[in-house]
């Protein structure tokens, strides 16, 4: 059995590549985020290397798909705090990629009592956030898992955020104050427990450790000076009649700007080069915040926003998890057309869902579905009676999972070219998704707000018609 190692994309890629270069691995195709997921090491020709989103790595190691992996201690803890018996062990700090997880607030003194209402915490680390809240004996709290931009939520949409930052000063730059430091982390080498106990990993591990700096301080020794004062974010109290609109960050921004322009709505500093998440919009009584499209349905459901522009794919995923959610589609914006598809490897002798069901029926091992759309994937498996299955949550680069680490992907595609390039094939189309305006089924008790909402929807509707 060859040794298998999972390497990170994203924030740790550059320094991990440098470490491996120092260790003389002779890696090809591991220098950029261009979508190469299967690099080769000339020093260890038998070593099987795959590149994943960092958050996926502890899960892959715990599942036993890989023997070794490199990821931040934060993601390892996020897994272990919820699943303490996972088969993953930390081997060694790698002395780079340092940072801390802070519970932070936008107010000078967050009100922990909240008059009996839940204290809201937004975080990409929902398990760690919950564990911390329990540990601190917070009486009543809600943890909102978000895909990113947790710092955008306080103070209006959450009392606090648990988020990663290089230092407390870095937090201050986005007008957040640390309430507590929850964890110091750095990149670390992790291993599957069974592989660590039974497999010969010594040469790989020795090679990695030989390239580590000798004098670097460990994370535990890191001293972080908390700034004596950071000004609270100045946010005007939101009027009862104001319409709260969420706009997407990332690659959907340009199309959104074009739509708004067609609707005759001017918006400033969006997309923002300096990372401003509260752009000004030239519409009376409308307040805008920029967040991840994945997070919008939940935020609309819990009343943080009245309207949001997201994809139907994310709304469908949200409704698959929370069927009684008040979030609903208001207007099809007919932008960013994609299909949600079920994908298998070319070599799998399956042409459609019925064939898939027959194929699975003959297997002993549970069937593995990997997807960013965890709830859609789960529903797909249930609706199609896929028997004994497991859903593997992923955070991008899902194509890398087939055929070794998953049997089926639920993925979005525009043209199907990326899927074909990775030697994969589509066996089912679940639905077509476009950008849409979503809102809440909850009744609005302010006549002025109702009027503003209707006016905004009408403007966007006209813009869609003009497209």
């Amino acid at each position: 059995m060859p040794v298998k190692i999972a390497l990170p994309k994203g924030r740790l890629l550059r320094k991990t590549a440098a470490l491996l270069q120092k260790a003389d691995w002779g890696l090809d195709e591991y220098q950029s985020n261009m979508g190469f997921y299967r690099p080769q090491a000339s020093k260890f020709p038998d070593l099987l290397i795959r590149v994943f989103h960092e958050k996926d790595i502890p899960i892959q190691i715990a599942l036993g798909n890989y023997d070794l992996g490199i990821c931040g201690l934060d993601w390892l803890r996020e897994l272990l705090v919820k699943y303490p018996s996972s088969g993953v062990v930390k081997i060694k700090d790698l002395l780079y990629g340092e940072g801390s997880l802070y519970l932070a607030s936008a107010a000078l003194r967050p009100d922990f009592k909240q008059n009996g209402t839940p204290l809201r915490i937004a975080s990409e680390y929902p398990n760690l956030a919950e564990a911390y809240a329990l540990q601190q004996r917070m009486n009543r709290f809600s943890v909102f898992p978000v895909w990113g931009a947790a710092e955008a939520y306080p103070p209006e949409n959450a009392e606090m955020a648990l988020l990663a930052a290089g230092s407390a000063a870095e937090l201050a730059a986005c007008a957040m104050r640390p309430v507590a430091k929850v964890l110091d982390y750095s990149a670390c080498l992790i291993a599957n427990r069974s592989s660590w106990e039974n497999k010969d990993l010594d040469k790989i591990v020795a090679s990695l450790l030989s390239a580590l700096p000798e004098t670097a301080k460990s994370v535990a020794e890191k001293k972080d000076a908390v700034p004596a004062f950071s000004p609270p974010r100045i946010v005007e109290k939101i009027a009862r009649d104001a319409v709260r609109l969420a706009l997407p960050d990332g690659h959907q921004q340009q199309q959104t700007v074009e739509l708004l322009t067609r609707a005759g709505i001017k918006i400033e500093d969006y997309p923002s080069e300096s990372g401003v998440r509260r752009p000004q919009i030239a519409l009376d009584g409308v307040i805008v915040k920029v967040i991840r499209p994945q997070d919008m349905p939940l935020q609309v459901a819990n009343g943080n926003f009245d309207l949001a522009i997201t994809g139907r794919d994310w709304l469908t995923d949200h409704l698959a998890q929370f069927p009684s959610s008040p979030a609903c589609e208001i207007l099809d914006l007919k932008l960013r057309k994609v299909r949600l598809v079920a994908v298998v490897h070319q070599d799998m002798p399956v042409a459609d869902t019925a064939g898939l069901r027959n194929y699975i029926a003959g297997r002993d091992a549970p069937f593995r579905l990997a997807s960013e759309y965890v709830n859609i994937a789960d529903k797909y498996a249930r609706d199609n009676h896929l028997g004994h299955y497991r859903v593997i949550p992923t955070w991008g680069a899902t194509e890398a999972f087939l055929p070794d680490d998953a049997d089926l992907l639920i993925e979005n595609t525009e043209t199907g070219r990326t899927i074909a390039r990775h030697n994969l094939k589509i066996i089912d189309t679940l639905f077509a998704s476009t950008a849409c305006l979503i809102g809440s089924r909850m009744t609005v008790d302010s006549p002025l707000k109702k009027e503003r909402l209707a006016d905004l929807v009408k403007k966007l509707q006209a813009a869609v018609g003009d497209a």
């Binding site: 004996r137 009486n139 009543r140 939940l298 459901a301 819990n302 008040p326 979030a327």
Partner: protein, 411 residues
């Protein structure tokens, strides 16, 4: 592929269910006779019910099964109940507060995550809660009731161990720890670290030999407790109130002749305990326990309602009781056999007649032999067959069959 049950969950076979019901029925019978009323609370509760200060220890909270349910878009998590008392206290606060004193009991399953899933993650327990009474007599009622149940179950060598949460807290305060440290140490004592208190006490010049000997105290020594009280009145008056409270309950137990062991340093239980804590052991196995929790209902907004309760662990009791020592009577079983396809309706009717008369009547589906068989022919002709006696009796109707089955010696 063989489908397995979830890790840490248990099945109960028909034989185990018989024992389960035997134990449950004895508990239920005693509870009802002492004036307790049965309640049932949901398997799923909001997480925040268990997170409030003064409910579960962090050690226990770290082991709850919590998740967002289909209504969880508000971000609030729910849990599979890890404890029986807190939901009953919630029910009382929600619906029964006005009645004042309430004697309630339940039989329910609790869920806690256990690392390897080798031990059980689902536990069954029978519990009683006495809400609205704060006296030593109320404590004694629960101790007498629980002792009676264990006695009726025929358990031998049961040891009752007593401690007192208020006394432990007063000692922790006396040691001079910060409120946070006191809280932490109290939790670790409740999570089962029996030596924690003694370890810290040894380092405390405040305590000296007097209190250390109180901590070391094991055994049935109410006299010693009284002597300690006399001594402490001078040196540590703040410890006297909980000690007096403890003594009051112990005095009632003495009058009732209930045997116990005092072991102050071992208070395993729940953070919500404020007064007496008791545990039942057979050998090294804990089979139940309880205590006084006067602050729980007020913390839920339920007004000033002192309360105490206990639970007996059904899973453990099931392995200890000997069903053979109980007379388990069940009705006589008769296999009803339709001898031809057109006799099926009559067979169903005959079986119904037997059931009405109090017998177990099974329809014959696979031809297996039975001690008693009632053969039904088309037109309703009946033959009762006694396999043991090799006797076949032709009978006219179901009443005649009942008469034969009820005859002396039939069962």
């Amino acid at each position: 592929m063989k489908i397995q049950r979830c890790k840490g969950m248990r099945d109960m076979s028909p034989a185990e269910m018989t024992v389960f019901h035997l134990v449950e029925e004895i508990c239920r019978d005693c509870f009802l006779k002492w004036g307790y009323q049965e309640v049932r609370t949901p398997t799923i509760e909001y997480l925040h019910l268990f997170t409030s200060a003064g409910t579960l220890t962090p050690g226990m909270l770290g082991k709850v099964y919590s998740f967002l349910d289909w209504d969880g878009w508000s971000g609030e998590r729910v849990v599979l109940r890890p404890d029986g008392t807190i939901p009953v206290a919630r029910l009382y606060t929600e619906k029964m507060q006005e009645q004042g004193l309430a004697r309630l009991f339940y039989a329910a399953n609790m869920f806690t995550f256990e690392e390897n899933g080798e031990k059980t993650r689902e536990r069954w327990q029978c519990g009683a809660e006495l809400i609205g009474a704060g006296s030593a007599v109320a404590d004694a009622e629960l101790l007498a009731l629980s002792s009676e149940i264990l006695q009726k179950l025929g358990l031998k060598g049961v040891e009752l161990r007593l401690s007192h949460a208020g006394l432990i807290k007063a000692l922790l305060e006396k040691i001079g720890l910060s409120p946070e440290e006191q809280h932490k140490l109290f939790d670790s004592i409740l999570d089962g670290d029996a030596d924690a208190l003694a370890r810290v006490s040894r380092e405390s010049p405040e305590l000296g030999g007097t209190l250390l000997s109180l901590l070391k105290l094991k055994g049935k020594s109410p006299g010693f407790l009284r002597n300690q009280l006399a001594l402490l009145r001078q040196t540590a008056p703040e410890i006297c109130a909980p000690l007096e409270d403890f003594l009051k309950t112990v005095a009632v137990l003495d009058e009732l002749g209930i045997k116990y062991q005092i072991n102050i340093a071992s208070g395993t239980g729940f953070e919500y305990y404020t007064g007496i804590i008791f545990q039942y052991f057979t050998g090294r196995e804990k089979i139940g326990g309880g205590g006084r929790y006067d602050a729980l209902i007020p913390s839920m907004g339920g007004g000033n309602a002192p309360a105490s309760g206990f639970a007996l662990y059904l899973d453990r009791l099931m392995t200890l009781v000997k069903p053979a020592s109980f007379i388990l009577t069940s009705p006589l079983k008769v296999l009803v056999k339709a001898l031809s396809p057109d006799a099926v309706k009559e067979a169903f009717n005959a079986a119904a007649g037997l059931r009405k008369a109090g017998f177990i009547a099974e329809l014959d589906l696979d031809g297996r032999p039975a001690d008693w068989t009632l053969e039904v022919k088309s037109g309703g002709a009946l033959t009762l067959v006694n396999k043991a006696e090799s006797v076949k009796s032709k009978i006219e109707n179901i009443n005649a069959a009942v008469a034969l089955l009820e005859a002396p010696g039939a069962g």
